[in-house]
């Protein structure tokens, strides 16, 4: 059995460059106003998976992404960097899913790809910042999880040793397979796209995308099965519709406030040891530095 790594990756609105149209009046994110990008910490996760793949001959990386049709771009982007393929989990019935419904859906998709060794995901997505989906998915799969991973210390075909970046230091933990790892933004940045892989995989499409293509390269597709990106619906993963989308999501947005940050008071500290020490203690206590 080959060594299988599954990476959970999400396409997100680029909330790092927020303009005034970023939110709609009802308090939801205005996705049309923000460019769709590869969730930054998922790129760190992909790099970690690629690093593992580099050290285990024959290892393969599959991307699982849940989202609308255009999220197939995330799978292609991953293939351009060294992933072997992926599945887009896409269905209108998933719309409105919170972390509970999302992790339920993802866990079913991952189960369908079993047996696997590693499940790697970014710590959190920049559109929700919950950091719950990775751990919840691991719980539903009943596998051990290592969160806040920063680096792979050692890996072989029987276990993985991970360095965790924690608030007050680092921790090194070892786990057997299968296990889940969520990756922190301080981990190595993802390698650039590779020219040959881009040319090899640029025609990769999901079935729905193919139906919209003007030029389908049918002949080429027949000889190159890797150009077909899998697309799974609710039926494909045999999900319970009640646990999906809005009905499966206990989280409800009650209200959204506009927060305007402003300096209310200023305090003077002298540059002697005692004052600086005091300042640091206060900053740590209020979680501004940690």
């Amino acid at each position: 059995m080959s060594f299988r790594i599954i990476v959970l990756a999400k396409q997100v609105p680029d909330t790092r460059n927020v303009g005034k149209d970023a939110m709609k009046a009802d308090g939801t994110v205005n996705r049309a106003a923000l460019p769709a990008i590869f969730n930054p910490e998922d790129l760190n996760a992909l790099e970690m998976a690629l690093k593992v793949k580099d050290s285990i001959p024959g290892a393969e990386i599959l991307i699982v992404s849940m989202g609308p049709g255009r999220a197939a771009e995330i799978i292609r982007e991953s293939m351009y960097r060294g992933a072997d393929g992926g599945v887009l989990v896409s269905d209108r019935k998933f719309a409105g899913s919170d972390t509970l419904a999302t992790s339920y859906t993802l866990s079913l998709a991952v189960k369908k790809l079993a047996p696997y060794h590693l499940l790697i995901a970014g710590r959190q997505a920049i559109d929700g910042d919950t950091a719950q989906v990775g751990p919840q998915t691991a719980e539903k799969l009943e596998i051990p999880q290592i969160t806040y991973a920063e680096d792979v210390v050692a890996v072989d075909s029987s276990s993985i040793t991970i360095k965790r970046r924690l608030e007050r230091g680092i921790e090194v933990v070892k786990s057997p397979y299968p296990c889940a790892v969520t990756v922190h933004g301080s981990a190595a940045p993802c390698r650039p796209r590779n020219a040959k892989l881009v040319m090899k995989f640029k025609h990769a499409r999901t079935l729905s995308e193919l139906q919209e293509e003007t030029k389908d390269y049918t002949e080429m597709r027949a000889d190159r099965p890797y150009l077909n990106i899998l697309e799974w619906s609710v039926d494909d993963i045999q999900a319970d519709v009640e646990k999906l989308g809005l009905s499966g999501s206990p989280t409800k947005v009650k209200k959204i406030d506009n927060v305007v940050l402003q300096a209310k008071e200023s305090r003077q500290f002298s540059s002697d040891e005692k004052d600086i020490d005091q300042l640091m203690k206060e900053l740590i206590a209020s979680h501004i530095v940690g």
Binding site: A195, M199, M220
Partner: protein, 571 residues
């Protein structure tokens, strides 16, 4: 999150030139590679799409990695440790990124692990890298050596060396020596055949060698004992793994400090002959130098683009007398003239690259089948154009690059003179472009042949015959008038039947022709995209008056006054 390819729509504009269809057709030979390689294109559109996507990777690496590293690379520079050149940490990171992205060996055929890209996208990559860090552009650009091995090496040498380049092997071309700079016929480094071990042995010194400690070096050496001119020189390939070369020192330079310039001593170094004996300088180095000159053209355009962007940014940020300095006529005239010249030299760069592309592609087609008579003629015409345009490009782009960098620093005022802004580095980096790979003065010696042989005039007449939008007709008339005056100035000099006078006016004649060519190229760009009308108009009007000044000097110059110049020699 910067991307130097996507933030500059002029790159894609040149990738969309109508001649690309012919270039790709020749280069991909019926797209036969698609059955052997999973990354080979299936048709023209697919090929251009691949070029575009790969250039996007180059642009991203330039914007996010190479550009941000440029300052530290300039500061740290390379060092020698245990007789090995160790790059600045930033340089090494750049190389790693380029390697991970699989970009080395861009123009090599796929059978050797390359991407089989034509010259145009390859030159574009060089422009992008140069905009990010002109010094690093040399390490990038030396993959031209692979091209030389591919063109002239035996099958065994190709198989031994070429697959190493796409895996990241670096290259150097070891030509110059302490007493052989512009005059390479004077090369002394000795190559002798070692019958016992069946290899050539190299002995001697090379100086000013860019990236001298490369994995693979092409070395020009004297293989024919008792000779003293070009006919005694052959080209060799030396593998660093043989450890038979010492690095005497790394030069401390004004600019491009990240690029290690080395003095090398070869001691009984084993090497293999590339191609035929005695053809080293006459054929192979001439070809290598032509690629290198095209490379300096790309470097010049990249540096000029960087300098212009720095000036533009600063001129809008800096306020004096209550408004941004860009608002003052003296400043916006400079900014405009800078951007017009960048457009002009970029247009000349890709025109030249296309000429090179066509004839080189024909040469490779000729290896697989006999060319038809009309194909042979076509190939010959393009080679002629490439040979005439290459020195013109090297001359004009490097001179413009320097003047644009000068203007950019000027716009920065006192701040530009400090080490705090990138422009001081860009200004220093620009300076070498008019010097290496043949000084501007030597480019004129090559380019004047384009004037006397009529090659430029023929190209100009061809441009003149192109269809044009009615509203541009007056610009064409100006260029046509400039052409008539160019012919008159040339006739004036030639009628003197005096070699000294031709030499004396050579640069002026070349620049007059160059201005007309640049004018037509911008006018051609304006036919494809309206926004180039501005550059074309500004350039042609200025070029017209610049040419008049030169023509007036030529027409009124009294040949007897040449003696006043020669008097310097007698002092």
């Amino acid at each position: 999150m910067a991307n130097f390819y996507t933030d500059n729509k002029n790159m894609k504009f040149h990738l969309g030139h109508p001649l690309m269809e012919k270039i790709v057709r020749l280069k991909e030979q019926n797209y036969s590679d698609k059955d052997k390689f999973d990354y080979a294109p299936t048709d023209f559109e697919d090929t251009i799409d691949s070029y575009d996507k790969v250039l996007e990777i180059v642009g991203e690496i330039c914007g996010d990695i190479i550009g941000p590293n440029a300052e530290s690379v300039d500061h740290d520079g390379p060092t020698i440790v245990n007789n090995e050149v160790v790059y600045a940490p930033g340089t090494q990171k750049n190389l790693d990124a380029i390697n991970n992205a699989g970009l080395f060996g861009m123009s090599l055929p796929r059978e050797f692990g390359g991407l089989n890209f034509s010259m145009v996208p390859y030159v574009m990559a060089a422009e992008l890298v140069s905009r990010a860090d002109a010094g690093f552009a040399n390490i990038w650009g030396l993959q031209d050596c692979a091209e030389t091995i591919h063109e002239f090496g035996s099958q065994e040498i190709k198989e031994e060396f070429l697959p190493r380049f796409p895996k990241g092997a670096t290259a150097a071309m070891d030509l110059t020596e302490p007493d052989a700079g512009s005059d390479l016929q004077a090369v002394q480094l000795k190559a002798t055949w070692d019958e016992a071990s069946k290899v050539w042995r190299l002995n001697g010194v090379k100086r000013f060698i860019t990236n001298g400690d490369a994995d693979v070096s092409l070395v020009l050496a004297r293989s024919e004992e008792g000779t003293s001119d070009a006919r005694g020189l052959s080209l060799f390939v030396y593998d660093r793994a043989d450890k038979a070369m010492t690095i005497r020192r790394i030069e401390n330079k004004l600019g491009i400090k990240g690029s290690p310039t080395c003095e090398l001593v070869f001691s009984n170094a084993p090497a293999q002959l590339v191609g035929d004996r005695k053809m080293g300088l006459i054929k192979y180095v001439m070809s290598l130098m032509n690629s290198a000159r095209l490379g300096v053209g790309a470097q010049s355009v990249g540096i000029a683009e960087a300098a212009y962007r720095e000036a533009l940014k600063y001129a809008f940020e800096r306020e004096q007398f209550g408004k941004a300095i860009a608002q003052y006529p003296a400043v916006y005239e400079m900014l405009t003239w800078m951007s017009v010249r960048v457009d002009a030299i970029r247009s000349l760069l890709y025109e030249t690259a296309r000429f090179v592309d066509v004839y080189k592609a024909y040469n490779f087609v000729a290896e697989t089948r006999k060319l038809e008579a009309d194909e042979r003629q076509d190939s010959k015409n393009f080679q002629k154009l490439a040979d005439a345009f290459t020195p013109l490009l090297k001359l004009i782009s490097s001179e413009y690059c320097n003047s644009i960098a000068y203007d950019s620093l000027q716009i920065h005022g006192g701040t530009g003179f400090m080490k705090d802004f990138p422009i001081e580095r860009i200004y220093r980096d620009a300076r070498i472009t008019t010097i290496y790979e043949g000084t501007s003065q030597l480019q004129v010696v090559a380019a004047i042949k384009g004037v006397t042989s009529g090659t430029y005039l023929k190209a100009i007449k061809d441009y003149e015959a192109q269809p044009i939008k009615p509203e541009h007709e007056y610009l064409r008339r100006t260029l046509a008038d400039m052409t008539i005056r160019f012919e008159a100035a040339q006739a004036k000099v030639e009628n003197l039947k005096d070699g000294d006078m031709l030499d004396f006016h050579a640069r002026r004649l070349v620049e007059i022709a160059g201005n007309i060519i640049l004018g037509y190229l911008l006018l051609g760009d304006a036919q494809r995209e309206e926004r180039f009308t501005r550059s074309a108009t500004i350039f042609i009007v200025k070029a017209d008056s610049e040419n008049r000044q030169k023509e007036s000097y030529i027409q009124h110059f009294d040949p007897r006054q040449l003696g006043l110049y020669k008097a310097t020699l007698e002092a």
